[in-house]
Amino acid sequence: MTPGRYGFCQQVLSARELLPRGVTAIAVVGSVARGWDTPASDLDLIVVSDSPFTHPGTRAQDVPLTPRTLPTMAFSHEGHRWEVKYWLDDQIDQVLAKVTWTAFGNELKAGDRLAELERILLERLLTCIPVTGEEWIKRRRDEIESSAFRSSMLVEALAKADNRIRAALGQLDAGDSQSAVVTARDAFGWAVMALMLDQGEYGSLGKWRVRQYRAVATSLLPFDEYWSYETMRNYDPADPGSWVRGIADLCKRVSMEVEI
């Protein structure tokens, strides 16, 4: 996909008077930008500007930044749902200030983390298709990739995998094998997330994780083995402990191989 293919987005937004003054960049994000969209997919966009966007049709989402609002506009165009998030350039500076290496060192003590919308913003900037502002997007990508964003997410994923697998083994020891299996599934998700991050894929536990993992599957967890765990094809109801311990072993191997 090339930026030119989505040049019409700027025209549509302009015609509907849905562009703020001082637009810095417009980008297609989400499943369309990854080439994973289906006919039912929304077209997600971000618009970055120097001036706040005000429009009576926007919905304000709360973000822990100044200003605290993120205007979002949804509408239908030629049978497709569009959703546009309006970020200020200054808000993006603030988000990036939370993932500096200095902040990362402090974060381990303070537990300060990115809000979900901020995390999604950074992930999406890395994989977006620029409509306008290509140079600005390239600069922001460089800033994100040289920041502690990936390491910060990796530390969190490994900690959650550790926490869940420890709980699962405890439940197994206590004879609650059903809870252990469900908890181990959760641990598996976080271990896979860590593997994806190690390969530069900012994965999620959401609907695209299979495609994301397929894109980066490593010898440590080949895709077929991943799929066996994901679908529990290798689970034996007569021996749940074996399945849980298999995931515990995988979590340990992931911890040993992925570099923070």
């Binding site: 490994l158 550790d162 420890r166 083994l169 515990a248 072993d249 340990k252 911890s255 040993m256 191989e257 992925v258 570099e259 923070i260």
Partner: protein
């Protein structure tokens, strides 16, 4: 103190709850409920990766001897000493083979 427990037939296993992180090419290994970590690099990291709860000390020493081109006798001695240290640190436990 744990050295007396370690035999060639022992099967070292990483204890539940031990946290492992790979940082700058080395492994940081911290026992459960402890903030202090042991840093393992080179041959120590090689050995730690071999502790899968199935291999005996003899098996692991054989791998070490092959990897670092040392005698099996020296590899067994080094492996037993390393396992004893990690038992003391609360990172390993012995399973499978008779202690």
């Amino acid at each position: 103190m744990a050295a007396a427990e370690v035999k060639q037939a022992s099967v070292p296993c990483v204890r539940t709850g031990v946290r492992i992180r790979r940082v700058r090419g080395a492994l940081l290994v911290a026992p459960a409920d402890s903030d202090s970590a042991v840093e393992l690099a080179d041959s120590a990291m090689f050995l730690f990766r071999a502790f899968d709860g199935k291999r005996t000390i003899t098996d692991i020493a054989g791998m070490l001897a092959e990897e670092y081109q040392i005698s099996l006798e020296l590899a067994v001695e080094d492996t037993m000493s390393f396992v004893a240290d990690l038992l003391d640190e609360g990172v390993l436990e012995l399973g499978g083979g008779a202690p």
